[in-house]
Amino acid sequence: MNQYIAHCVLALCLLPLAATASSAYPQAERNYDTYCVQCHGVHRDGKGINAAQMSVQPRDHTDSKAMTDVPDEEMFKAIKEGGLAVNKSILMPVWGKVLGDEEIHELVAYLREICKCGK
């Protein structure tokens, strides 16, 4: 039991590493780490722990060229209503019942920060 708790405590000690304060959008960064990293990856490159088994690979959010081609409105819609709403994969889920519009707008701004690209 003590060993179990020690493992848990160790995981919690790593918490600050998981959510750095480097972004201008810390809440969006936290949301990304919670909901997006499972597929889009710790490095935001589309290589999350789920990606290896997925038939359609998650978008690489660090790809400036590809991300430049996606308007803010499309990003917002993809996050809120899921991939199908923007003619993409069902594997991108609907997050609109977990995240509010304001949080999704901030996520879009955070994605622009990650890709270092404009609209």
Binding site: I5, L15, Q38, K47, I49
Partner: protein, 224 residues
Amino acid sequence: MRQFLPVLLLVSSAALAADGPQVLQQQCAECHALKAPTETTLDRLWSRRGPDLHYAGDKFQREWLVGWLEAPTRIRPAGEFYRHHVKDGPEGDVVDEASLPAHPKLDHETAEAVADALLGLHAKGLVESGAYKGATVSSTMGAMFFGKLRGCAACHQDAPGKGGLSGPELYTANSRLNADYVYSYIKKPQAFDPHVWMPDAGLGESDLQRLTGYLMQLKSGAKQ
């Protein structure tokens, strides 16, 4: 003296019998919420050490629960919370197996007592009793909806090694979970925790019945 002996033995046996609620409080409450949390923040999700159990009586089947407490296996391939257990791999993120703690094992008597105590934990209004209607689902059709059509396989496995890693495996759902719980959780995950990383896909009734039926009719561990 002889007539007191059976009484003494009975008392002794009762004293030795595991006290499920007491074990829960002493050994489980450290990592699991046994009562509905008063504060459901994103920070709580990040800091909790194991799944919430305050609705365990609505969720689990007793036989599975006793067996699992005696010989725990990993249900969540990436642990709880998955984000704490990810590291760099050669071709992307991988689960950091070394960071995943092993769950304590209980002896049979204690496992039974703890299972009974857990099955006494209920949360009003979370699970819709009788929601799952028990219709037979074609395994081919169910697998298609679980994978390509509704995307559940992005995060969940319906067979060992087949599917995503950030959610619990579902190939043992039929022996582990109550069907009404499965239905209710798929329907509205945020009712169980408002910040949980399983999305509410807004599925209609036919999808909820089909997916619940598919999972409840899976043979544990069978390749699909």
